[in-house]
């Protein structure tokens, strides 16, 4: 009841004006050149899926954008008015490595991010409401007082998504957020993420191996293998001859597992075109 107002306040249309640009982006660790000459232009309101074989440098690219590892080239962000500034980046890791025995509740974790007030002293009512509003946004408000170690994989990823959305990010990075989660959990997560780009003013970069789900939900697919091999709408990428001859086997094998999804893509793609 309390958080309806909060949700409405957060609810706004994406402007489609702000953008993130990667220019001549490269990462070298030690003597190994992992990424080179990556050029990307990401608009807000877009879900960009980053796909590619193992070891292609997808996770490395996200970590470089986050600033965890150093990179060459330029990373610039322009806000809606066209002024460059430092973007607020939200991040959902592939799998949160944490101690399952640790007595940290979902409320503890989120309010530690929201306010400087030490969570071991308890939670103010205001913070509690803000946290449950955030959790409601990812269909996880019932998890408020659960211990992190007691959550299922899908529940944990939704909590992490709620965490990444606070403060409102300009850029949301999702690193294989649902690998190892059952189909139902996966679809719920993708559904949430795909709604986010409509509700908030943000761009989303999603690393994934689920070709079928990605082609269904993504606006754009970037095929990465040490550099950008191909970039475009799902249809453009899959109709590209050279891409299909090199990476085709992987795509066909993956989509073959869920045969009904690609059919939906084609009809959906028709509407978009």
């Amino acid at each position: 009841m309390f958080y309806i107002g909060v949700i409405q306040k957060l609810h706004k249309e994406s402007c489609g004006l702000c953008c993130t640009k990667l220019k001549n982006f490269g990462v070298t660790i030690g003597n190994t050149e992992i990424l080179y000459n990556v050029n990307l232009h990401i608009h807000c309101g877009e879900l960009t899926a980053l796909v590619g074989p193992n070891g292609a440098g997808k996770t490395t690219l996200l970590r470089a954008i986050l600033g965890e590892i150093s990179h060459t080239g330029e990373l610039s962000f322009l806000d809606a008015e066209g002024y460059p500034r430092k973007p607020v980046v939200g991040y959902v890791p592939q799998r949160l490595d944490f101690d399952p025995g640790s007595p940290v509740s979902v409320l503890d974790l989120l309010s530690a991010c929201l306010s400087p007030w030490p969570v071991c002293f308890g939670h103010s009512r205001r913070i509690r409401e803000r946290v449950s509003a955030r959790l409601a946004g990812v269909q996880a408000e019932h998890l408020l007082n659960r211990r992190l170690g007691d959550l299922s994989g899908g529940e944990l990823q939704r909590v992490l998504l709620a965490m990444a959305l606070e403060p409102n990010p300009d850029l949301l990075l999702l690193d294989e957020p649902v690998s190892g989660i059952d189909v139902q959990g996966k679809e719920l997560f993708y559904e949430l993420v795909s709604n986010l780009r409509k509700q908030y003013d943000l761009s989303i970069i999603l690393v994934s191996h689920d070709w079928s789900l990605v082609t269904y939900y993504a606006d754009r697919i970037v095929l990465l293998d040490r550099t950008v091999r191909c970039c475009g709408t799902p249809q453009e990428v899959f109709s590209n001859e050279s891409v299909m001859s090199t990476y085709g086997p992987v795509i066909r094998e993956e989509t073959g597992r869920v045969p009904w999804k690609p059919q939906i893509i084609h009809s959906g793609g028709g509407v978009r075109a």
């Binding site: 025995g101 007595p103 509740s105 409320l107 530690a112 071991c120």
Partner: protein, 279 residues
Amino acid sequence: MEIWYAFVKHFLPFAWAQHTFMKNALLAVILVSPVFAVMGTMVVNNKMAFFSDTIGHSALTGIAIGVLLGFQDSLLIMVIFSVLLAIVISALKTLTSTSTDTIIGAVSATMVALGIVILSRGGGFNKFSRFLVGDLLSITPKEVLLLAFTLVGVIFLWVGMFNKFLLASVNPSLALSRGIPVRLVDTLFCITTAVIVTISIQWVGILIINSFLILPAAAARNISRNMRQYHVISILITLASGITGLLVSYYWSTATGATIVLFTALFYLGTLLAKPRFA
């Protein structure tokens, strides 16, 4: 101190409370318990039990260096030494790919050996054995004041930094993505642990100080579901076993530190048995 003495005289009219050394020790226990309980929760969360153990053992070398430099009571030297050691260990942790327990194990053994070699030179090790067992009953009012300052320091640190410590302990790269300087936070925590362990070592004793830090938190962890419960239970266990241990050691004339640790161990055992109900 006068207020405290008056308070004890008024509210605790027991035989044991007549002695000034017991009054001092009781106040020391009440001050040091929250410090250890609170630090312990994070030490356990960060899986740093072995680290704090090393800091405790390395106090021997700290004492030895103090003796070499000509100080008899060398708390300052010990603190400086342990802070340096904490910085070295946390740097080694990030710089090398060797597993942390190997590094810490190596450092620990080296420091103990070095300390014993220096202190036993000329056969005078016995006079330092009080550091091994610790003597809480010998605490002076000035030293109690030092503990009070430590408590205030820890409270300030917790108010300012706890959320950062927590996020860094849940997952470092998640914390980093939220703009928390994880390495700095980690080093700060290592240094604080080192300072607190070293300050308290002459009263609790090198051999058991780590148990006093780890056991209450480990016990609280068994039965708590969030951070507030974790802290409150840990503080209660430390206070309860601290005061009981002090009294029992008075009547049995045993070493105070060790008696207190035995009571925390009892709490740990109890919560371990109760764990299935809370899990």
